[in-house]
């Protein structure tokens, strides 16, 4: 038999000025099951709370309705008070008499009537409330960072510095990401390698960080605080402990004609290689697809020359099974290559290059030692054209978004070119210059004002080759749409930044959302930019959308703080307002018919399959089961289930039906 206590608050005069609180308390007091009803000036004050605690004991209350302000304001206060009074906190509800009644209506009969209805509704609801226990989940205090670009590096170091363990997974042989390929960086023009390399070394040497390169995530199961991750460590064909990194093998390998990825195809590398001189770890791997031994069965020169006998031709891939508490995704981005542009020659012309290729040409450690030479004949271009928005902001090519970084790096490229080739002419075709950011526009202005880069507002229609020159046909829209034809020696396309290859696949393994361009989706575009909609998985860097280094690093630190906050708890406590699928005795087990429609709508992948087996081990029924750790209590599954097998604690079917009935019917 329910015994409900009702406490009507005046809120000074905030409520009582328009609502007749005395009448409310009195009317409610007459309802069946209401064991105690009273009014008070300030319920949230200490004496107010004491009133509740005492009443619970005195009247043996089984439920409490505080009729005061919005539950969004004081629900925690009164639930806590109830708990202190010896009542399960989830047996307390609030009726919102202030925001939803006294403050929005005139003083009259109707307003008091409405107040009574609001309280009655909560009384009917609370009668059906059940005592709930907060859900506790343990937390494995090891983070995994996927991707070792600058964002991953920053996140890993920040987490490791809070004293927690970090496992970093990088799929290429070295960490560093795109930043390691850059020459100098806007807006300060400091050398990319110089600021990045120390960080890379720090990762390798940090006692809290375990680095796995040449490794990829195979599968992810579990939930926040309790992920189980399988990682495939691809065989490097090398005993990393034995190898000293002397490099002899790489110089002796006869297979030397493999396009060098790090140099964006503008140089060659051997089959056993270290991607670049500052690589971390600085140990070679054998690229089995291109190694003569793996293709033809003979060679093994590297093994012969290796002074420490570190080569292991028969090394298998290794699968690691890891227990992880939180995951930071930092897999970065890629850019479209020049062959994406039919109207600009489909990658047929060697001297039409993309931005990363230009970075390599401008880099002191690049294939030309920092001298800007055009790929076809090594000549220094005297006339160079940069084309911004190449593929970006181009719905016809399937990319409607702005890639954000290219305006800045194009200005940088033009500037670097002018610094190196003083007599040269640099032209930039652009649509808008997007240079919001600290010292960014000043940077672009410098390119124009000091280095006299010729910015032309308009797109280029076509580029073709004639007599070893590139004919660029564009337009200057600021001259009344006048056609412009430039005979150039080299053309650099600021090609669109796109999701890194395999991003979609990884997102599916992680059960996190991604957008139509396969960039990872944040949980909220403004207020949860580093969270995903899966608890415990965070984003850092350009895997979310193209961004520059300062943005990638800020977000990486943000993600690290989220991980640290999670790891500051030994257990996670969650409100138990989650869905449950009913269970009945065998042979029905549940009214669930196993249609799993619910599974398809759950935004959090919280619905699992549970199998019931007969004695002989045969599966007799498969029904839905909610993973409490994952369920966020949205209730979508409840609304959807046709067999009414799921219910939402705190908002159960019987509760909300009771509310509807109470609201609409006379008493």
């Amino acid at each position: 038999m329910a015994r409900i206590g009702v406490f009507v608050c005046h809120c000074g005069e905030n409520i009582s000025a328009t609502v007749d609180c005395g009448k409310v308390a009195e009317t409610i007091g007459n309802l069946k099951h209401v064991a105690y009803s009273t009014e008070y000036k300030y319920m949230c004050s200490d004496p107010g709370q004491t009133l509740i605690k005492d009443a619970i004991k005195e009247h043996n209350l089984t439920g409490v309705v505080v009729s005061a302000c919005s539950p969004r304001m004081h629900e925690p206060t009164f639930r806590k008070a109830c708990a202190e009074g010896g009542l399960n906190p989830f047996l307390c509800e609030m009726a919102n008499l202030r925001e939803h009644c006294s403050w929005v209506h005139e003083k009259n009969e109707l307003t008091t009537e409405k107040a009574i209805d609001i309280v009655r509704t909560q009384v009917e609801k609370v009668k059906l409330n059940s005592a709930l226990q907060p859900i506790k989940v343990p937390v494995t205090k090891t983070a995994m960072v996927i991707g070792g670009g600058i964002a991953g590096i920053q996140s890993a170091l920040d987490i490791a510095n809070t004293g927690h363990k970090v496992i970093m997974i990088e799929r290429s042989p070295s960490i560093g990401g795109h930043m390691s390929q850059l020459s100098e960086t806007f807006p300060t023009l400091d050398c990319s390698q110089c600021i990045l390399t120390p960080r890379m070394v720090e990762v390798a040497q940090h006692p809290n960080i375990t680095l796995y390169t040449y490794a990829e995530v195979e599968s992810v199961e579990g939930f926040i605080g309790n992920f189980k991750v399988k990682v495939r460590k691809k065989a490097k064909s090398l005993d990393e402990k034995a190898c000293t990194g002397c490099g002899l093998c790489t110089t002796k390998c006869p297979q030397k004609k493999i396009p060098n990825e790090f140099e964006q195809g503008m140089g060659m590398r051997p089959a056993i290689y270290v991607p670049f001189p500052q690589a971390v770890p600085n140990r070679p791997v054998i690229d089995r697809e291109n190694c003569t031994y793996y293709i033809k069965g003979k060679c093994k020169i590297c093994e012969i020359v290796c002074p420490t006998k570190a080569i292991r031709f028969d090394q298998p891939d290794e699968i690691l099974e890891l227990e992880i508490g939180a995951i930071v995704v930092a897999t970065g981005f890629d850019i479209k290559h020049a062959d994406f542009f039919p109207e600009y020659g489909h990658g047929r012309y060697k001297d039409i290059i993309d931005g990363l290729q230009f970075e390599r040409l401008a880099s002191a450690s690049g294939p030309t030692a920092g001298v800007i030479k055009r790929p076809s004949d090594g000549e220094i271009p005297k006339n160079i054209v940069f084309i911004a928005c190449a593929g970006s902001r181009d719905p016809a090519k399937g990319i409607a978004y702005c890639s954000k970084i290219c305006c800045m790096y194009t200005a940088k490229h033009a500037m670097l070119y002018k610094h190196k080739v003083h007599e040269g002419k640099a032209h930039v075709f652009y649509m808008d210059i997007r240079s919001g950011g600290k010292n960014y526009d000043e940077f672009v202005r410098r390119a124009i004002e000091e280095d006299h880069v010729n910015y032309i507002r308009g797109r280029v229609s076509t580029v073709f080759e004639r007599d070893g020159k590139l004919i660029v046909k564009g337009v200057d829209t600021l001259l009344g749409a006048q056609q412009v034809e430039i005979v150039a020696d080299m053309v650099v396309l600021a090609t669109a930044g796109v999701a890194s290859s395999g991003a979609e696949d990884l997102a599916q393994k992680l059960h996190v959302s991604y957008d139509s361009h396969k960039f990872f989706a944040e949980a909220h575009p403004k207020l949860k930019p580093v969270e995903t909609n899966t608890a415990g998985i965070f984003l850092a860097g350009a895997c979310q959308n193209p961004k520059d280094i300062p943005d990638a690093v800020s977000q990486a630190s943000g993600a690290a703080v989220k991980v640290a906050a999670l790891f500051s708890q030994s257990e996670l406590t969650r409100e138990p307002l989650v869905a449950i699928v009913n269970r009945t005795s065998p042979p029905t087990y549940s009214t669930c018919v196993g249609c799993f429609m619910c599974q398809s709508v759950c935004p959090y992948q919280a619905i699992e399959r549970e199998e019931f087996k007969a004695r002989d081990g045969k599966v007799v029924k498969t029904v839905a089961k909610i993973n409490e750790g994952l369920c966020q209590g949205c209730g979508t599954c409840v609304a959807l289930c046709r067999s009414k097998s799921i219910d939402l604690l705190g908002y159960s079917n019987t509760q909300v039906y009771a509310e509807v009935v109470a609201l609409l019917n006379e008493y």
Partner: protein
């Protein structure tokens, strides 16, 4: 509901272009790529991207400028602009519409006289015979354009190579063709 649906029907050239050929002038972001690749842009008083910009203003005076322009008649419908426009704006269809509109409102640019004369002669030629009668076309065009000396040397050479018929070919369905012209109010 998208915001654009809230707008009231527009009584502007951009509005009618959108209605009749589904070209949304406001999608154009003035990149100029159409003009950059247009083979006749340098002859035009209003290059295609400028036409788009003028449409966007929805100013009667600018609508007038478009309809009275020479450019809409110089466009050769090569479709280069459409095939390269990042926003997939169908300028050629729009040009067709603008030409028809300019004629209807009697705003045809004087310099386009010959171009229209040619198109008219062309249609006249098929209106009566069903097929193109090249000699007839040229004679008719010369009559309309008063451009008597042009191409004088061409005809004899064509005739000598068997490329110019001296008499028209009449198809059987000439009455049918005439009705088609009539029904389409040509």
């Amino acid at each position: 509901m998208s915001h654009s649906e809230h707008h009231t029907e527009r009584n502007t050239l951009a509005g009618s272009v959108e209605k009749s050929v589904e070209v949304q002038a406001h999608k154009c972001y003035q990149c100029g790529k159409c003009t950059a690749g247009c083979p006749v842009a340098d002859e035009m008083d209003l290059p295609p991207s400028m036409v788009m910009r003028l449409l966007q203003t929805e100013e009667p005076a600018n609508d007038e400028r478009i309809l009275r322009s020479h450019a809409i008649w110089l466009c050769v419908t090569c479709e280069m602009c459409l095939s390269r426009c990042p926003m997939e704006i169908d300028i050629p269809s729009m040009m067709d519409y603008l030409r028809q509109r300019a004629r209807k409102e009697k705003k045809v640019n004087k310099k386009a006289k010959n171009i229209i004369a040619f198109h008219k002669s062309f249609l006249n030629s098929i209106r009566f015979t069903g097929r193109l009668y090249e000699l007839g076309l040229i004679l008719d065009y010369k009559r309309q354009s008063l451009n008597m000396t042009q191409d004088i040397s061409l005809a004899p050479k064509m005739i000598s190579r068997g490329k110019l018929h001296l008499f028209p070919t009449m198809i059987k369905g000439t009455a049918h063709i005439a009705r088609i012209f009539k029904k389409t109010r040509t």
